[in-house]
Symmetry: C2
């Protein structure tokens, strides 16, 4: 007869021993991460090992773990390394990984019901509201990411303006909504507008000024033209930190426009919202806390492990207005686990929800919000340091600066053509990355391929940026020579 329970460890002592081995290995790996390459390609024979068929019978858990150590651990994305500043990936606070271990072990789902997990999530959402100077009457939901947050915010905007659309749909009502944001708005907003059936063509991408901030006069003109054309402006999206350059739209001015024009005002603060923790950045972000909805990613500039984000709404019940549904199998009882009035499942898309609040709770209690504010301040200081280094270097050009944590620059030389500049800077980036030196990412600004440093990394020291600059200079010179560009 088969022992019970079959999918629990047959030997709990062996399970303990393996777990403790993992703890030691994690501590070794994280404390020694600086000595590893930032990134390296997956060798072909290792890549092939991921092409095996579905395993039918099991293997000792220790063997599976050894395979992980050999085939997965050395070939990561790179974002926990102190010289990773690519895309918008955070570095990951180690204590939060323990929060995730506990969350997966006790395995609560946080949809509804009377249990401590629900109270932890409620507390964490309240804390985030306090940190972001959000009104206490507001409400919120932890989500997998800002992309989901944009979907939830826009659906909430639509349900607030036109509650009948939930049942009647967009075609039957015949109303064509429009949404507004700058050309620098993250593509997740396009995706949300598409998903909701509004049509990405009706997301009006308003031009930006030289600092990549939305042109408010152009916005007003677009609104006027759309109203004259019989369209129905629904929502204005302000950027608290654009993904390309970290630009912050004039949020307070956009708030005025939204109020005058009776638009839902949504702020995409995917990474930038947490600059609210710094008194020195509050003037820059003025208006953010008066929005109707706000998204922020805790797995970016709050350094928590993936995935955890938050969508906040200003009006109590706003989210429920868009997402509450009913079914006999989830109806309430008078007492017991189904009696609790709060249901996070009624605030968004998901019914089953991971207990992702626990890692946030652990991290905020362990470091305090001031610990996170200090790390954010340091990131900003370090990007200012990088900016100065680039400006002082005759063979480097600063292409964008930010009051937050993003800088874009490139290698330049006299007489360079635009094509040659792009070619050489591409090659420089690829060598930085494939040689495991550092991981900025790239973007294209006014046709120029640039190295993009987006700094949400609590492990970086200033000397890492000195190293980056000198390596870009060395690689740029080598690449120009190799390409016969000069």
């Amino acid at each position: 007869m088969r022992p019970h329970p079959p999918l629990d460890p047959a030997d709990w002592d062996a399970f303990r021993a393996l777990g403790k081995q993992m703890i030691d290995d994690i501590a070794d790996h994280l404390s020694g991460i600086r000595d590893q390459p930032v990134w390296q390609p997956v060798p072909e024979e290792i890549a092939a090992s991921f092409e095996t068929e579905l395993p039918t019978t099991g293997r000792p858990m220790e063997e599976v773990y050894e395979e992980f150590r050999r085939t997965v651990l050395p070939f990561p994305r790179g974002n926990i390394h102190p010289r990773f500043w690519g895309w918008a990936n955070g570095s990951g606070v180690p204590i939060a990984a323990y929060g995730d271990l506990l969350a997966s072990a006790i395995n609560c789902t946080v949809g509804s019901g009377a249990n401590a997990a629900l109270l932890v999530e409620q507390q964490v959402v309240n804390w985030l509201g306090q940190a972001l100077r959000w009104p206490a009457s507001g409400s919120g939901l932890l989500t997998s990411g800002a992309s989901m947050g944009q979907v939830i915010a826009l659906a909430t905007a639509r349900a607030h303006r036109a509650p009948e659309v939930r049942a009647e749909g967009a075609a039957a009502t015949g109303v064509q909504f429009t949404v507004y944001g700058s050309t620098e708005t993250h593509h997740s907003v396009d995706k949300a507008v598409e998903l909701l059936g509004i049509g990405s063509r009706f997301f009006r991408r308003v031009p930006v000024d030289a600092d990549h901030r939305i042109d408010v006069a152009a916005l007003r003109a677009a609104l006027r033209a759309d109203r004259e054309a019989g369209l129905h402006p629904l929502c204005l999206v302000g950027n608290a930190g654009t993904v390309n350059t970290g630009a912050v739209d004039p949020l307070a001015e956009l708030l005025s426009v939204a109020r005058q024009e009776d638009l839902w005002y949504h702020v995409d603060g995917a990474f930038g919202a947490f600059a609210q923790l710094l008194p020195s950045r509050r003037a820059l972000l003025a208006g953010l806390s008066e929005a109707d909805s706000l998204v922020c990613d805790l797995h970016k500039w709050l350094y928590l492990p993936f995935d955890v984000s938050c969508v906040l709404t200003r009006g109590e019940g706003d989210l429920e207005g868009a997402f509450r549904s009913s079914a006999d199998y989830i109806s309430k009882t008078a007492r017991g686990p189904a009696a609790h009035p709060l249901s996070f499942a009624d605030r968004g898309v998901e019914q089953s929800r991971r207990f992702r609040a626990l890692k946030v709770w652990f991290a905020l209690k362990t470091y305090g919000v001031d610990g996170f504010a200090d790390a954010i301040a340091e990131n900003i200081t370090q990007v200012a340091h990088l900016t100065k280094l680039v400006e002082a270097a005759p063979d480097l050009e600063l292409v964008s600066r930010s009051e937050l944590n993003i800088a874009c620059f490139r290698y330049v030389w006299p007489g360079a053509t635009p094509d040659a500049l792009n070619r050489v800077n591409r090659a420089v980036l690829e060598r930085l990355q494939t040689e495991g030196i550092a991981m900025p990412s790239h973007t294209v600004l006014h046709g120029a391929f640039v190295l993009r440093v987006a700094h949400h990394n609590h492990r970086t020291i200033s000397a890492d940026f000195d190293h980056l600059v000198s390596q870009v200079q060395r690689l740029g010179a080598e690449q120009v020579a190799a390409d016969g560009e000069r």
Copy 2:
């Protein structure tokens, strides 16, 4: 001067010690879970402790962990306990919690890029396809849950039928789509239809037969009527295990209807799809593997910790057709981490994605798919055992049976009125739950409030159901006496 890095442990040895303490505590907690109450209310003074303000300064991590042990651990949802069979929550395989620990420690995001995490997710999606007898040409994506899977599947259906809707929206095209499924379809499908702007009124809830399976003649009539009314049938949803009773729609017959009527065929296999692992259930599920899209929840009947689900599509590129987008900051390079052609972010809503594939990889390698098939078979056997006990008891009534893992029943007595039956069975459920005895959930079938056992629990032994039955009989009798019903 502040030490670097500020959000890493100041003392790695203390970090190791705490992690090992957690490992020991987890092993104690999970191996001893049978001796705990299934559920207990959160005491008022503990609940109040979750109402404190945002912490500004930090505290020792050991203190935070002690607070977790005191205020969170004893007051869970209940679903890891051997006598929890409520809603559709899985029990959680311990080895997978280690997968989540490692995933959070190494903190890869799995959107795109050349790294081992991407290869693991690709392998896991392929494995799930093999397990569910999905065609090798198909494609897929791990998601947070089936709710997200329904959204992705329906958006994919719409983009496949009418690619212009992504840009033009639903109102401008003027086409009114309709979606079909039985009255027993999970409410997440309504939510998806609403979110997409199709309108939940255009989700046609087709009546069911006595066994809670869709009435195919009524479906054909609904399709005919809608076409005559100028509407555009888009998608047919088949249920592989309804949430109320575990009914399986005639999936092969629905496949024929979908092909004849040129509909996208989506199967909601949130929990039921994994019965495909058992040869004895393949006839019941015939047609499932020929669908255009399928969702399944690994955190239900594959016993993995929340959250992990999968959406599979039949046609290569189907998901990309609905979700691919472009932006300069995520464009590809010729070499390096941004060179890999695969992008999971192009298959769904999310750009940042947790490395949830790792726990699946760990669990499937450790137990093999046969280990999971055995557990599923045992759940089915145990529900059949429960069903027999209920049928043999004169004071119990079996209200629904299933060839899968759900049974609904209630306490009855001679001369009972419908109201009294509902009142007493509510009271029985509340006492089972609040006294920590067992956790079935409830639903309403043909007006009857019933105890609902949905069994996705690898820790249950048959004697647990003997205990459930005897306790329902005891509590039912006590409740009838107390209420003066007899």
